[in-house]
Structure formats: structure tokens, C-alpha cells
Symmetry: C3
Amino acid sequence: MEYKKISSGFILKLIKGENIAEKITEFCEKEKVFFGLVKGIGALEKAEIAHFSLTEKKYINKVFEEDLEVLSFIGNIALKEEKPFMHVHITLGKNDFSVFGGHFVSGIVGATMEIFIQKFEEKTERKKDKETELFLLDLEK
Amino acid sequence: MEYKKISSGFILKLIKGENIAEKITEFCEKEKVFFGLVKGIGALEKAEIAHFSLTEKKYINKVFEEDLEVLSFIGNIALKEEKPFMHVHITLGKNDFSVFGGHFVSGIVGATMEIFIQKFEEKTERKKDKETELFLLDLEK
Amino acid sequence: MEYKKISSGFILKLIKGENIAEKITEFCEKEKVFFGLVKGIGALEKAEIAHFSLTEKKYINKVFEEDLEVLSFIGNIALKEEKPFMHVHITLGKNDFSVFGGHFVSGIVGATMEIFIQKFEEKTERKKDKETELFLLDLEK
């Protein structure tokens, strides 16, 4: 992964074989990004995504392994149990142009990933919500 | 809904059962957001979306009611007949990871919605366009 | 196409029949946007999209011609062989609300396209990568 500081954020380039979630978490710790926005496009060779069932309060996960275009990779970074945590949803395109997607769990880069991270100076935490059992943004602090 | 002012905008968190369009419109009136960008992810339990037929100059609408991941929620806010008006397109994911989407009409939040609104100080209006009969952005004023 | 300068970027409105890639390239040359982000929604009446096969190191292209909602249009602008080059991925919705998408090649606007371009002052180039044979971002310069 290479990256470059620009006004209000960073541009990241990931290359074939890199694990996106790991690389971005390392980057956030190094550059002290504790709150921000994530947005990108690119390609993956492997992706694990999930769908949350609100009734059952659990995620269903699935792994896809093929050349996938990342049509959108959108989300945010906030602190969860004092560490930078990335929450992203992803839309993926297959070679027949069909599309699927969900909550992003992990992904291995294909040709490349081009990601912009906008850094905010305010700290924002996620806190476990009783109703959904998810770590939701806590904006009142 | 909770929200927090940050540099160049606001982060909003909506919770289960809230009506997104209503909450954001109220927020824009309160915070005087008359022109801006909207971007978010989250989950809905109900969504109404639409597709515009340019030939027939009308929208076809459809309501979906199930646990839906919001993979992308992208658009803008501008003035329409002197009130803040949100124009957003949405991509939604089902529990089999299939995806559908369209012009966003309304939605009831599922687990949560996490939305970033970037506010611009310039006012921008929508004006009725004769050819499409839609209220398009008027950038020449 | 109309556009308006705003803090940190530009809002563009394209209208029926305009060729997006041509208009944005012209705009970038005129406004000296050599590095930036692109984000938008709207509608197309014709779209050419592509999928990259990493094994075969080539794109497969396909043209769609019908009323299409642009659910997301996300990417960046950087210099390629000294000219502004737009790299965008697109998600498109049909009138049955099904979705498809891929790497954006070209598109003719339907009702309208509303695009925000964030301009960065730093120059960034794309350089041919030996492994993928694609022009990837070069962030180390």
C-alpha cells in the first residue's frame, strides 16, 4: 500500500493480494485517524460480505472468490473499544455485469483499490446498543 | 436522530423506526442547510424507490419491506420552491446478497443509518425543466 | 453542461444527450483539475461499462441502451500521460429496479447528471503497472 497526504485527508493505493481491512486499520493507527469517512473503487479477487438480520440480531456471511469490480466502497471510521474501526458497505460487480453486495467484512485486492479517507479531528466512539446488539455511533458525547 | 457538527459538515445517526426523509428535511431546516451533499450507509426495514421513464415523463414507484442493507445513499440537497429538498439515489442489498435500487422516495430505518452531510454556503435552487418536467439544478444564477 | 464553483470543488449539471466523459474531460482541462474526486447521481440513456479480467489482463465491454438511473458514479481524476483522466465505477438501475454495473467507459445523459468534483491542488499521475498492465495511481512521487 502507498498513500499520500492531501488537503483534508489521504489517498491510498492498495495492490494485488493486500488485505484491505488490515491495511486500512494499520494506516489509521499510524496516521491517528480516529474519525473519518472512507470512499473508494477498485477490484477484489476475494470478498467476504455480510447481511444483518434485525430479527435474529446476527450477521449472515458469505465469501466470493473471483474477479470483482468494486463499484462502491463507502463508510466511516470511528473508535470501537479505543481502536479505529472501519464500517463500510460494498457493492461488487461480476464479469456478467450483475451486482451484489452487503456489509464489508474483508477483501483481498485484485488489480488495485483507490481509496480516499477524509480525516476529522473530533473523536467519535461506537457504543454497544441494547436493542440491536450492534456497536452504533455515539454522537452525544 | 442524533447529530454532531464537524468540519465542513455534520454526521447524523438515525435509529430503528425513524423516517429518513422527514428527519433529514427537519435537520436541514434547523441547521440551515440549503445546499450540500449527502452520503451514507446503514439499514432499512422499509424502502420506497422509483425509476424515471424519460419517454413517459413519470416515475414508477415500488415499496420493499424486509431487512435491507443500504449499500449506498448518495445525493444532494438544494432549494426547491424555497425549501431544502433532498435528491438521493439508493442501492439496497437483500439477505441473499442480491442488490436493487433506484431514486430514493422514502425509507424507515432498520438497525441504523450513518449519514454525512457536507454543507455549502452558496444557495442553489432547483427549477422546473420544460423538457423533462423535473426540477433540475439551476447553476447559472 | 452548467457548473458552479463552490468551496473545495465544483457542482456540475449535465443534460439530456450530453456525453459525460467528454464533458468532464473538457471541464478538467478548462478548470485545471489534475487531481480530484468525482461523485454523482443522475440518469443515462446509454452506457458502456466494462469488467477487468486480471487473468487475461483485458476489459470485457458491454453497451446498454435504455432509461437507466445512475445509483452511484464514484471515482477520481489524475494525470495519465499528462492529461486529466477520469477513473469511475458506476452502478445502474433498470425500470424493474434490478441493478448492474462496472468500470465506466462512456455514457449519454438521460434526464440529468448531478456531479460533484472535489479538486486537490497536489498533482498525481497514473503510471503503467507491469503486473496488471493498467495505469495505476503513482503516489510515491
